[in-house]
Structure formats: structure tokens, C-alpha cells
């Protein structure tokens, strides 16, 4: 429900700044994904939103009101932990009902005996029971209400954790890598279920993951983080089509974006081996510096054909590996005609083409690579930041 605003938020432990100052404004009811590799500070950021970790600098606002000083229970949030954090000694029913019990708790309930009695009575309360049953139905947990979390499978525990978040109907759902402990099949299924849940409850979600597929499929907004620095904030499409820098370009998309050193001379792209490609009509080009820049092309904008059928405008290359995936084939190749002497195939020099159907090329084959530069990205030499693009013009 609330609009979440980050105003110059930063986090330090002592002298070490773990999250560099950043600002962003996330509208109501968005599914915001905090995406980044391990240790990039995404969980810390989520915990700051939850109020579990102090904010060192800046102001966090829900609907324009600062929440920096308020505790997690005052922010109207629910938090799903990576480890689920279910109370191991309580039944599934008591786990789900716990937030409801706490909201009705009176100070005198702390008295010995009264406490146990009141908890038991509140669990049987028709109103609480109805709410627990509604959530259990939604999460398909009705048959497990009297079991302990220990006796449930990973997927069921995960659903209990989500159920405990759902039952209080908070305005913000915070989820910390909730799918990372599930196997691949279940992960795909739960991904769809969480997306459906977001559609149904129409509340704000903030979701932490290191998995770019989760981010792209579930998120309506993504914040990409690396080493405590926000790299880019935007919709999945913006981030995929116009990555802010080479880090985002390589982190988002599988296979990652192809990055090639080049020089730009007007609308001609010159590669280190001397090949020159012309930017197509309507293709955007940066007006910035022309030397030592990096060209970025998505794998699906690359086509590969056998060397003997090649015509002008193709780059000579050699296939490193060809992976047939059924509907498509991903061909990894290296530019140049000679196989790398060292035999290494990893690293930045390895480029990818994503081609529908089957490709009759084997490792070691010479091939010709054609690039569609219509939506190509250009990154500067220092720091790899995206170069601003001039309005598309006709060929000079």
C-alpha cells in the first residue's frame, strides 16, 4: 500500500560503509526486487526497510512519513525470512496465529498461568480461527495445522512462513530470498504462486534475490546492487534493454550481454581486428567519446552462420561450445579466426548467440557472426557507465 521512498539512505558499520548513499521512489503496490550477487548489501537494505537494522544516514519514508525511528512492529510490515524462522515449538496453527495473538496481548497476560491460558483461549477464538483457516486454505495447509514445522517439507514450511505474513494483512511484504532453499521445480512453482499472491492482495512487496530470473519474472521494479552501490533502478524492461553499466549488462540476462571493445567513428563501429560495421538506419549512437569504448549486444541480436556462407558485414569467429536447449541453441564463440592457444574458454572474451531452433555448428568450427546493432548499448571506458545516446538520425 505505501509508497516507499529512499532519501539518501546509507548504512555503515563503524568506518565501513556497506551501502552507499542512494535515493529511489517506489510507487504503491509495486513488486520491488532487490537484486545483486552475494554480499552486495541487498539483505541489509531489506532489514533497514523492516526496521531490524538501523539506518545510518538518510530517511526512509512510507507514504511521505519518516519511519526511521519506528520499530518493526509499528511499520505494518511482514517479513519472510530465508530460513523461514518458524517457531519450532509451536504447531502450524499457532505459528500462523502468532501475530494475531500478539496484537491482542494485554500486559496482564504476562502473569504466569494466565499467559498459557490466554494463548490457548485465543487460539480457539472463532475470529482468529477463521482467519487462520482462511490463510491455511489459501496456502493449502489445512491438513497440517496441528503439525510441528519440523515434520513439514521445505515447500510446506515456506508456505507456513508466507501464511504467517499473510494473516495480519500488512501493507508491505518483505521477503528475504524465500525460494533459495527449495529445489528447482518447487522454486518455479512458488515463484508463480508469490506473483499470483501479489496480484491478489494488491500490496507492496519487497523481494530480495540473487537470481536474475526471479527478478525478471516477478519484479515490477528492480534495484540492482553491487558492493553496496545501487547500480540501477528501473522496470525489468528498462534494466534489460538499457543496462546502466557493464555490471548490470552482464548480471542481467542469461547468457549475459555480449561486451566487445570497439571504437566509434561517426556511425562506424571499428573492432580491434580491423572489421568495421555500420550502425543501421534508426540505430542510436552516443555522441560521447569514440575511443576505447565497449559495445554491448544481447545474445538474441547475434546470429551465427557457417564461415563459407558468410557475406560482407560479418565478423569471423570460432565456435567454443554449442548448447542445444530444444527451442533454441546458445552458441558460445570467440572473435577471430584462430582458436585461443591457451585453450581457456571462460572470461570476458567468450561471447554468446541465442538462435531459435537447432544450429549445425560444432565446437572448433569457423563461423561468421552478424550483429544487429539497432538497440545496441555503448559503455564508456572508465567505469563502464552507459553512454548517453543521441536521438536516432538517418545515416549521414
Amino acid at each position: 500500500m505505501p509508497r516507499i521512498s529512499f532519501n539518501g539512505i546509507a548504512k555503515s558499520y563503524g568506518d565501513t560503509q556497506v551501502i552507499k548513499t542512494f535515493s529511489a521512489d517506489v510507487p504503491d503496490n509495486e513488486f520491488l526486487v532487490l537484486l545483486g550477487p552475494s554480499g552486495c548489501g541487498k539483505s541489509t537494505m531489506l532489514r533497514m526497510i523492516a526496521g531490524l537494522t538501523d539506518i545510518t544516514e538518510g530517511q526512509l519514508e512510507f507514504d511521505g512519513a519518516a519511519v526511521n525511528g519506528t520499530g518493526p512492529n509499528e511499520r505494518d510490515i511482514a517479513f519472510v525470512f530465508q530460513s523461514y524462522a518458524l517457531y519450532p515449538h509451536l504447531s502450524v496453527r499457532a505459528n500462523i496465529a502468532f501475530p494475531l495473538l500478539m496484537s491482542r496481548f494485554k500486559p496482564y497476560h504476562h502473569l504466569p498461568l494466565v499467559n498459557a491460558l490466554m494463548r490457548r483461549r485465543m487460539l480457539r477464538d472463532p475470529e482468529i480461527d477463521a482467519q487462520v483457516r482462511r490463510v491455511a486454505d489459501m496456502m493449502e495447509l489445512t491438513d497440517y495445522l496441528d503439525r510441528r514445522p519440523r515434520t513439514l517439507s521445505g515447500g510446506q514450511r515456506q508456505r507456513v512462513a508466507v501464511g504467517r505474513a499473510l494473516v495480519r494483512e500488512p501493507s508491505v511484504y518483505l521477503l528475504d530470498e524465500p525460494l533459495s532453499n527449495l529445489d528447482a521445480m518447487l522454486r518455479t512453482q512458488m515463484r508463480a504462486e508469490i506473483s499470483a499472491l501479489h496480484q491478489r492482495v494488491r500490496k507492496s512487496f519487497v523481494y530480495v534475490t540473487h537470481d536474475q530470473v526471479e527478478a525478471m519474472t516477478m519484479g515490477t521494479r528492480i534495484i540492482v546492487l553491487n558492493e553496496g552501490v545501487v547500480q540501477q533502478y528501473g522496470t525489468p524492461k528498462e534494466i534489460y534493454d538499457r543496462p546502466a553499466n557493464t555490471f548490470v549488462a552482464r548480471f542481467i540476462g542469461s547468457p549475459p550481454m555480449n561486451l566487445m571493445d570497439c571504437e566509434l567513428d561517426g556511425r562506424s563501429v571499428r573492432f580491434p581486428d580491423g572489421t568495421v560495421l555500420e550502425l543501421p538506419e534508426g540505430g542510436a549512437a552516443p555522441d560521447g567519446p569514440a575511443r576505447g569504448i565497449t559495445l554491448g549486444v544481447r545474445a538474441e541480436k547475434v546470429s551465427v552462420e557457417a564461415a563459407d556462407t558468410a557475406k560482407a558485414g560479418a565478423l569471423p569467429a570460432r565456435v567454443v561450445v554449442s548448447e542445444y536447449l530444444g527451442a533454441e541453441t546458445v552458441v558460445a564463440f570467440q572473435l577471430g579466426t584462430r582458436m585461443d592457444e591457451s585453450g581457456t574458454v571462460g572470461g570476458r572474451d567468450l561471447l554468446h548467440a541465442r538462435i531459435p531452433g537447432e544450429v549445425r555448428l560444432a565446437a572448433g568450427d569457423a563461423c561468421a557472426v552478424r550483429l544487429d546493432l539497432t538497440d545496441a548499448s555503448f559503455f564508456g571506458s572508465d567505469g563502464g557507465g552507459r553512454l548517453p545516446v543521441a536521438a536516432a538520425k538517418g545515416v549521414a
Binding site: 512492529n73 517479513f79 525470512f81 530460513s83 524462522a85 517457531y87 496481548f105 499467559n115 504467517r164
Partner: protein, 310 residues
Amino acid sequence: MDIPAKAGTGVEAPKPRAHRGRRLAPYLFIAAAAVYLLLLTGAPLLDGVWLSFTDTQLLNPTGGVYTGTGNYSSLFSDSAFVHSLLITVIYSAATVIGALVVGTTAAVAINGAFRGRALARAILTFPWAVPTVAAALIFAWIYNKDSGVLNHALSGAGLGGRGWLVDPTWSLFAVTLASVWKVFPFVMLVVLAALQSVPDELYEAARVDGADALNRFRTVALPFLMPTLRVTALLMTIWSFRRFEVIWLLTQGGPVDSTNALVINVYREAFVNSDLGRSAAMGVVGLVLSTIVTVIFFYVDRGAARKEAL
């Protein structure tokens, strides 16, 4: 199916003798410890039980004559002895509950991260490290009716002093308080260790769910602590049944038998009244009491473990 043993393959049917050796080995390994225990614990115990059925006197330790259950029937018809059993139970229960509550509270208080935590832990562990005799003497000074610091403070606050160790109304309370002070660090250290096994995320989940500090302790920490607390309670109870120095040094069981716990009675019967047989009978009653407590604790523990396995 028999696998024929072949020479040179290394797979040969074990010979009967080797088999027997392997079966006996564990018993041989524990034999030394078993003999040691039997000699140093079992023998005196049996001797004590035998003594309790005789009229042995301290001045003539070998001249006792078998008197059947005479010592026991005389004990249980003696209201002073029954009173001392009651004192023992009250003193033990109060000490155990006091030490568990104070120790657990102290453990929770010093579990978090704060400035000066190491110092706080050291100070709170101090009573456990002090020799019991020194601790008892310090408390004797604190409790002194005329010059003690406790009465001084109470008078200062306008509450008036009390004869802590000489007034039968207060003596058992004073002795219990000193005992709790002496033993709570043990509970604290054990609980502190158990608290390390509680995942931080559970506290955080409870915070998000709106639980206050007491509810977080109750819902998150306490279930993890229960097995530890049960064992600690058992140990503390048995130690309380046997605690001698603190009571003897503070009150010697007085005034008017108000702190006359079983062990004090045993000591006085043997070494003041010189009646070894009667003293041994009291000791056996204490042993039975400890055994009953142990059995109860094991049943409770097993029941709780079964409930947790659900």
C-alpha cells in the same frame, strides 16, 4: 549362505576366540572405573545403610548391634525430625527456584551485545568462584543484627533492622538468600551457553510479529532452554539437599531449629550426639529423598521429550 574362507584373500571367518575377545573388550575398558566406583561409592553406601539398622555409637564404632528398623521408627515419631525434613524441602525448593529465576534473568541480561559485557559477565560469575566458607562469613557480617550493612541500609531507608540470623521468622529466608547468591552463577553460565543455540532470526520474526521482550523470551528462547533448565533444576535440587557449609556457618541449624536442614541434623546426630546409627538412618532418608526427586525429574524429562517429538 556361507562364503568359503580362502587363504591369502584376507577374508577369513573370525575365530571363536577373537569373537569372544571383541565381545568382552567393552567390559574390560570400563572395569577399572567400575571397580573404583564400587570401592569408593558403593561400599561406603552399603556400610551406611547397614549402620542405619544398628545402634552404633561414635565412641565405639565397631560395637553396634543390629536393632532392625528401630532407628527409623524413632525418627518418624520424632516431630523435630519431620520438621527438619520440611525445612529441607522448603529450603531446597526456594533455593532452586530462586537460583533458576535469578540465573536465567542474569543470562538473558548479559546475552546481548553491550559495552562492558565482559566485565558484567566476570562480576556475575564471581559468587560461584568465591570459596563457600568466605561467602558464608561475608554474609554473616552483612546479616549481623547490630553492625551488619543490611540493617544499616534498612534503618537508613526507615524500614528498621531485623535479627536476620537470630530471629526464627527470618533466618531461613536469610540462609536461602545467601545460598541463591552463591549458586545462581552456575545456572547463569549454563543458560548462557544454551541461549547461543537460539537462532537470531526467531527473535527478529517475533519482533516483526509484534511480540514484546517478555513474549519473545517466552515464545522463542524458553522452549530452547527447557531441557537445560530441567537438568539444571535436578542438579540444583540434589545439591541443595546436601548443602551444609552455608547453613552451618550462618546459623548451625538455629535459631530454634528454624534452619535445621537434614544434613545439619545428620552432622549433629553423629558428631554432637555421637549416635552414628540414628545419623546413618537420617542419611538414608536423605538418599531416598534424592532418588525420588531424580526419578520424578526423569519422568518429567521423558514426557517433555515425547511431547516435543510430536
